[in-house]
């Protein structure tokens, strides 16, 4: 019997491994292969556009001298944005997860809310707020005779906006990680003479280094790859980034998806280098903070720091949430974008609920809403199961070649949304599966696109759980599945729920992946939004954004208590 169970377990291992690689392969590698293939040929692939010949011209074309400037801009924006995002996200996460800062659920809300609006809307919002001449803030400054003008349409401005909108990634991942830090470890630091700052700097944050570096990498690459913000804010003032170049290559006529593929391939390699570096940095040290001697949740008393902390939260909430929301409300309630002076902000005669009500009543919005909810819920459910399995396989099993799963999982990070979307289109349109044209294809696209986000969120939680807790269950005779269900999952619940939440929100607002794949029956809300935007109906855009912000706020508040481990 042992011999048989031995073979059986080998077979099982092999088949699990095969299934994971197959799934990940279908979701990631095939679209990636399409892109890679496109990068080395001279015609558009899969379009019947004549004979393809191998070539390196795409790379040569991409490496034009102008790329240098764009790359530099990208680097500046991504680095600056990452720093801003981490600074805000980490601080907020620490406050919400570890301290007795007042109004926890509001802190939490402020931590995640910037995530809710799509980056396109966010970019327009900030351009409304901070453009040099007619930005709301500048109008107010002018009316108050304050000799201060801000110009958000600058590298610094772009970095700031990116930072603010990616801070929730850092927030969500670090929040999960910090709730899993045994307070004993911080207390030990305090007892041994460390100030709060030293405790944070030497113990708390280094302990969650996997989450920290993981989210930094995620944010850095996502910002580098992000396109709406630099396009809306930087485009008019001549700032160009790599992502804009790729987007332009993809959308200008004639388009150069092959060159975009080449550039994406180079980015993928860069991301692999980053992931490899990350693994190297983290290797050797142990980040298992939940051990077998109990985990008591205790809040750090801020004491005199309570008020500065509260002030920070309020300020952050104001800048990251309040201002854009206010701009959205302005946009939703008034049809006309022109604001002559500060008094006009309060000119009620300009306001009307008509656009909001119209949007709320529109069948297109309704249908979009339903489609978005279904696609997002399915993505978030399927994604969580799949990503957790991946994370578990990589970190907790001896499956062959399991590290490669992680490298593959990070690929979608490197592919700009629009390139990935095209890859997904090429892949799934030609597969003989009845998914194309259904909501399922959107779920597949979303899942593919958000693998890195979901994977990282879950993995940084799993890394923190000491494997002996699982060993104890196995020793007690539990099967793998029982162990996962009763021990692992409850402990990493925070991370898994955070991933589910992240996937949900990101899916609701995702534009690029939907654009190539939606049909009239699967028109999602983000498409409705984009249509209105392109038709110049900003008030509709603002109204829809507000509507789903309200929905997501509700979901956030309900989900808050599940974002912690089940202690």
């Amino acid at each position: 019997m042992p011999a048989r169970s031995q073979t059986a377990s080998l077979v099982l291992k092999g088949s699990i491994s095969a299934v994971l690689f197959a799934l990940l392969g279908a979701l990631v590698l095939v679209p990636m292969a399409m892109v890679v293939y496109a990068a080395f040929i001279d015609v558009l692939p899969f379009s019947g556009e004549g004979e393809a010949a191998w070539t390196l011209d795409n790379f040569r074309a991409v490496l034009s001298p102008e790329v240098g400037a764009a790359a530099l801009n990208t680097l500046v924006v991504a680095t600056g944005g990452t720093i801003v995002a981490l600074a805000f996200g980490c601080t907020m996460a620490w406050l919400a997860a570890r301290t007795d800062v007042p109004g926890k659920s509001l802190v939490h809300l402020a931590g995640v809310m910037p995530l809710f609006v799509s980056l396109l809307v966010a970019a327009v919002t900030w351009s409304l707020l901070g453009a040099g001449h007619s930005g709301y803030l500048n109008i107010i400054f002018r009316s108050l005779d304050v000799p201060l003008r801000i110009e958000i349409r600058s590298l610094a401005g772009i970095a700031l906006v990116e930072g603010i909108y990616y801070a929730p990634y850092a927030y969500i991942i670090l929040f999960g990680a910090l709730t899993l830090v045994n307070p004993d470890l911080e207390e030990a630091a305090a007892v041994h003479g460390a100030t709060l700052r030293q405790t944070l700097g030497i113990i708390s944050f280094p302990l969650v280094r996997p989450a920290l570096i993981g989210s930094a990498l995620l944010i850095f690459v996502l910002i580098a790859e992000d396109f709406p913000v630099p396009q809306i804010l930087g485009g008019p003032v001549g700032i160009e980034t790599l992502s804009m170049r790729i987007y332009n290559m993809m959308t200008r006529i004639p388009s150069y998806p092959n060159q975009a593929g080449a550039l994406s391939l180079m980015l993928t390699i860069a991301v692999w280098v980053l992931v490899y570096t990350q693994r190297r940095i983290l290797a050797g040290a142990d980040y298992r903070t939940v051990t077998g001697k109990g985990l008591r949740q205790r809040a750090i008393e801020l004491g005199p720091w309570r008020w500065p902390a509260t002030a920070f939260v309020v300020l952050y909430a104001l800048v990251a949430v309040g201002l854009p929301m206010w701009a959205l409300v302005q946009g939703a309630l008034r049809a006309n974008l022109f604001i002559p002076n500060a008094a006009a902000f309060f000119d009620l005669s300009q306001f009307s609920l008509r656009h909001v009500l119209d949007a709320a009543a529109s069948t297109a919005v309704h249908d979009g809403f339903v489609n978005s909810l279904m696609a997002a819920a399915a993505t978030s459910a399927f994604g969580c199961v799949f990503f957790f399995t991946l994370v578990y396989a990589v970190n907790r099993t001896d499956l062959p070649a399991r590290q490669w799963l992680e490298y593959i999982a990070m690929v979608p990070l490197a592919l700009p949304a629009i390139v990935l979307a095209l890859g997904v289109l090429w892949t799934w349109v030609s597969l003989p599966l009845p998914v194309y044209g259904s909501l399922a294809i959107l779920v597949i696209a979303f899942t593919t696109r958000f693998i890195p986000q979901g994977y990282r969120t879950i993995s940084s939680a799993v890394i923190q759980i000491h494997d002996d807790l699982e060993h104890a269950a196995l020793v007690a005779g539990a099967s793998r599945w029982q162990t996962i269900k009763w021990v692992t999952l409850p402990l990493v619940r925070g991370g898994v729920v955070a991933a589910a939440f992240l996937l949900f929100v990101l899916s609701v607002r995702e534009v690029a992946a939907s654009l190539f794949l939606y049909t009239t029956k699967t028109r999602v809300l983000s498409i409705v939004l984009l249509e209105s935007y392109e038709s110049g109906l900003w008030s509709t855009v603002a109204s829809i954004s507000l509507l789903y912000t309200v929905m997501l706020v509700a979901i956030t508040l309900v989900g808050l208590r599940w974002m912690r481990p089940a202690l």
């Binding site: 899969f46 379009s47 019947g48 556009e49 809306i232 008019p236 998806p257 022109f338 194309y436 110049g536």
Partner: protein, 326 residues
């Protein structure tokens, strides 16, 4: 037959009725397309569904779907004639169809075999924010734009945004001033990637004026009380075509034919004109938006297919060089 005008023979109409629905792939913004589709539906009882993508994206999607034999669209339009031509060459948009109004429609805006018609032709105009430009200074012609006082406060859309900008700039170069490009570029205009943000910035006065905006969104802002104005310059205007035809793989070919007939009919044209774009049928009304006087259709300039095919790349390259866009 609608409004005393024959849109289709009884056989096509019956067949179309039986099909009952129509799937259109288009590039014209969805919200602007809505009233057109609604009118079509109420005229014919055929439900029209609409998928919208920008031209290049649409082209990629259509070719990929076609290659995979999954193209479901009955009707396809693009705002780029060479791409339309490529669709034809690939056999994707290869259904010669003579609409009832075929003869009336000028040759420049239709395929001689009726495989496509420039059914909707939006206008690229000058838009001005009056809070930043004195009434007296408001330009009346394209030439008025070449003036140092606009330096830094004028905006335009990048040529990469699509056919609309290409035709506008071709028009400016050919009909207004062969040196319009360098002269205008010297004003260092802000270059917007697409039309929407240009519109926003004009409406709120971030820039004083811009070219390449489409009339309707500006007009909407004007109606809502923003101090904006649409200028139809004296030299004439450039339109760009949303050129559509029947898909080879159409599931509802009759409905598609009916739709194409309707779009090119007088009645359909009137509906299109009500949205502020020029229709294909010369017998339709002039485009009309309350408070805007559109020039008559003979002042409208079309970039023609042959020129488009021949000059596109070189012109775009030249434009980028002139305006310093990489």
């Amino acid at each position: 037959a609608v409004d005393g005008e024959t849109v289709a023979d009884a056989k096509t109409f019956e067949a179309a009725k039986k099909e009952g629905r129509l799937l259109a792939y288009g590039t014209y913004p969805g919200d602007m397309m809505k009233p057109i589709l609604a009118a079509f539906e109420s005229d014919t009882g055929i439900k029209a569904e609409y998928v919208r993508l920008p031209s290049q994206g649409m082209y990629q999607r259509v070719t990929a779907e076609f290659a995979a034999k999954k193209l479901e669209a009955d009707y396809i339009d693009l705002t780029d004639l060479p791409l339309i031509q490529q669709l034809i060459n690939r056999g994707i948009l290869n259904v010669p169809h003579r609409v009832p109004a075929f003869e009336q429609i000028p040759a420049a805006i239709k395929d001689p075999q009726g495989r496509w018609y420039a059914v909707i032709r939006p206008v690229a105009v000058i838009a001005v924010n009056r809070s930043r430009v004195a009434d007296a200074d408001i330009p009346k012609s394209w030439k008025d734009l070449i003036n140092p006082k606009w330096k830094g406060i004028v905006g335009t859309v990048s040529i990469d945004a699509g056919g609309s900008v290409l035709s506008l700039y071709s028009f400016l170069r050919e009909k207004v001033d062969p040196d319009f490009w360098p002269k205008f570029a010297a004003l260092t205009p802000r270059i917007y990637p697409t039309i929407a943000p240009l519109t926003t910035d004009i409406a709120r006065g971030e820039i004083a004026l811009g070219i390449g905006a489409i009339a309707e969104p500006i007009w909407l802002q004007m109606k809502a009380g923003a101090p904006v104005k649409v200028v139809f310059p004296s030299e004439g205007i450039a339109v760009f075509p949303a050129a559509g035809g029947i898909s080879t793989t159409a599931k509802n070919p009759n409905a598609a034919a009916l739709f194409l007939n309707w779009l090119t009919s007088k009645r359909g044209g009137n509906v299109i004109a009500r949205g502020g774009a020029y229709p294909a049928n010369p017998g339709s009304n002039r485009p009309h938006l309350e408070g805007l006087e559109y020039p008559s259709v003979d002042r409208v300039w079309n970039l023609q297919l042959a020129e488009w095919m021949a000059e596109r790349e070189s012109r775009m390259k030249l434009w980028r060089e002139t305006f310093g866009v990489k």
